[in-house]
Amino acid sequence: MQATQTMLAMHGVSKSFLGVRVLHGVSLDLAPGEVHALVGENGAGKSTLMKVLAGEHVPDEGTITLDGAEQSFTHPAQAQAAGIGIIHQEFALLPHRTVAENVFLGREPTRRGLVDRRAMEARTAELLTELGESGITPRTYVRDLPVARQQTVEIVKALASDDAPARVLVMDEPTAPLADHEAAQLHALVRRLAARGLGVLYISHRLREVFDLSQRITVLKDGRHVTTVRTEDTDTDQVVRAMVGRELSAYYPPRARPGEAGDVRLTVRGGGNARLRDIDLTLRSGEVTGIAGLQGSGRTTLARALFGAAPFTTGAMTVGGRDLRPTSPRRAIRAGIALVTEDRKAEGLALRQSVRDNALLVTRAVPARGRPPAARDLTALLERVRLHARGEDQQAQFLSGGNQQKVVIAKWLAARPQILLFDEPTRGVDVGAKAAIHTLVRDLAREGLAVLIVSSELPELIGMSDRILVMAEGRLAGELPAGASEEDIMRLATRGGPAAHPPVPASPEGSA
């Protein structure tokens, strides 16, 4: 990159929290129209670096230069006024306010001292049109929008600076909550923005999209700059090696050998509820069954139905050979079923409680009855899941995503389940911890557990599963053997429409 093209430069940025240094003199630059990807394990300092740029943290050392002028931001509003927009990992939208109110939050246009709602809505509509996003009206309440649309609103909000045209857009894991087709829409939007001369700093764990989108990749590790490379000059292996500092020879542990799949642990015949129909499913010990499908196809609903959280209302189900259709999670747990939920923070952990309390949550809540006694030895259990924590007293909220997930898994293992259901097992988990979780899952299957994995990351699903069931519109659209290609899966997942199915009776509820 030539120096004349540099629009934004961060130089030698350091930052400590409570004496712990999280950034060690990191430098980064960005050209107009460039998508610059920032990758690294959780805790590598990506988000902190971006928060420094966005004025949320004041750096201890280092400079930020935008268009040749040095900047020192002490409040997010200043960074935004200078043309730097940031989209946070967690949504920063108010669900009960309208799109326009969210977009202009903190800088509502006024006329004679009063908020000029009309101008606000007109400008929002204008911005949405500029981005080529139809279908969002400024007066819609954010709670009524699907997640992907909310993401768009976040982008509009980040770009809608009134003082200066937006120059830089920082996106921190924007596709984490999105399904594949929604992510594709977002990618298209990012490309359109870059084509208009916006510089995009893009943080993601999904390396495939990093390679699809970016012109350059910067790798951070332990708060230090490792390397910045042109995307076309590198490949996934090199980047992963730079991220973890070691070779990840095989991404996925070997699959089950023939004969390893054992007894039937769970069966469903003709299972259905408000959003599922005609589910026939068999889970065997020693086998990892993958569930693929588009967002809204019923993947998560299926896992929740098996776990009794959103029970089947029709059909027959057996668990461990006995007839049982769990009507509550408590019954499912008693029967030896465990569910690692998609939303770790809201459904998996008591964030302000210690690692110990979290790991013992299930065994304390559901005392053993007709099930082997709970694992008493917590330390061994935490070692088993290879948890990296400061101690058993550390609060779950301070762990990285990967370690939080390990605590969730430990929580279930303490209850000695026979059937383990995973919904998005590695969402928001860094590469190193991902591999550890994959290995753990395979080990558990090898020890005789029946495992079911729901994942929207197809490589993970293909890498982990001994067979893959594809869902579409609340039904199982087909089954594929181990090692099926992504194309096969997508073909089944998208093979919808009335022609492929017997007529579906009109159901009153739509899916939101």
């Binding site: 920063a92 939050l105 903190g106 929740r304 009776p505 009109a506």
Partner: protein, 333 residues
């Protein structure tokens, strides 16, 4: 349906679910007030009474004034996700300060003194909640204790005297309408205007909706919460002035006897404002106040014993909030 030919698979994303106006608590509570009034009219008429006399309606509205003023202020605080439990003692102290100042000073001085006192208490509440990061429940409860101590130490009973000129506020009417109702209307209109039409109002909602998100969007959330507390206390000061005019003197029990602290929170919640903040508004709160006042009036006319009266009030409040919770569950899992 099943009989028709292959339907075109073009049905795009369903439009956002249309929310009827009825589902909006601010509308619902006014309908509830109308329903309670109708029910009261029927019940009272069945006993041979007449509920909707001019005198009775005016009485109901007059009874709304004090609680209405407090609840409107409380709305501003609750919208930010905070709470004020010190309002009852602030009212008591306000009436005492007003009456004693008026006894040997001018009315204007007294009004200013009460408003200054209120603003100071609100400022203190706000600063303790935002600066010391004490939970609002505890912070304002602490303020309530402090005010109570002050009152008990300095006043043994009713004190001061409100001149006839100021008692006009409590007793005068313009035609059939009590003057005090204009005070409530003015304060409520002002608050409604502030919450709906100003940037500060938008920031109130944002702070209560998600403080972190609001801060990251450049909203000065602390300042917003402090201002909301000051605003609330000023409304409480207005209520104290009204009650002083009504009582003709200051009284240590002026605010506590009617339990304006919990009563105002009940009215706010009944009006559809979320206790966690971020949703609701002044219009709903006024509806909530009206529902409580109409219920009161019905029970008084029927001569129902106070125990049963409170049971019904409790049931109404719980039922209302349960109803809102059902509506507010957002998207299905």
């Amino acid at each position: 349906m099943t009989g028709t030919a292959v339907a075109p698979p073009t049905v795009a994303k369903s439009a956002p679910p249309r929310r009827t106006r009825l589902a909006d608590p601010a509308v619902g509570v006014w309908l509830a007030a109308a329903a309670v009034t109708a029910a009261g009219w029927i019940v009272v008429a069945a006993r041979g009474g007449d509920f909707l006399t001019l005198a009775n309606v005016v009485g109901i509205l007059q009874n709304c004034v004090a609680l209405g003023l407090v609840a409107v202020g409380q709305t501003a605080v609750i919208l930010t996700g905070s709470l004020d439990l010190s309002v009852a003692y602030l009212i008591s102290l306000g009436t005492l300060v007003a009456a004693t100042t008026m006894e040997d000073g001018s009315v204007v001085t007294a009004v200013l003194a009460v408003l200054a006192l209120s603003a100071a208490v609100g400022l203190a509440n706000g600063l303790v909640v935002t600066g010391l990061k004490v939970n609002a429940f505890i912070a304002t409860l602490g303020t309530a204790f402090i005010l109570r101590g002050w009152i008990e130490d300095n006043y043994t009973g009713p004190a001061g005297k409100v001149p006839a000129s100021f008692q006009h506020l409590g007793y005068d009417r313009m035609g059939p309408v009590p003057v005090s109702l204009f005070l409530l209307a003015a304060v409520a209109a002002a608050l409604w205007f502030v919450t709906r039409r100003t940037r500060f109002g938008h920031h109130l909602y944002a702070t209560g909706g998600d403080e972190h998100a609001a801060r990251l969007s450049g909203v000065r959330t602390r300042r917003t919460v402090v201002a909301a507390h000051v605003l609330c206390s000023l409304c409480v000061g207005a209520a104290a002035l009204f009650l002083a005019a009504r009582l003709g003197a200051g009284a240590p029990w002026a605010g506590t006897e009617a339990r304006y602290d919990l009563e105002s929170i009940a009215a706010v919640v009944l009006g559809g404002t979320a206790l966690a903040g971020g949703r609701g508004g002044v219009a709903g709160t006024l509806g909530g106040v009206l529902v409580l006042a109409v219920l009161d009036s019905v029970f008084n006319q029927l001569g129902v014993d106070p125990f049963f009266k409170n049971v019904v009030r409790g049931v109404v409040i719980i039922a209302a909030v349960a109803l809102y919770a059902r509506r507010g569950t957002g998207r299905p899992a």
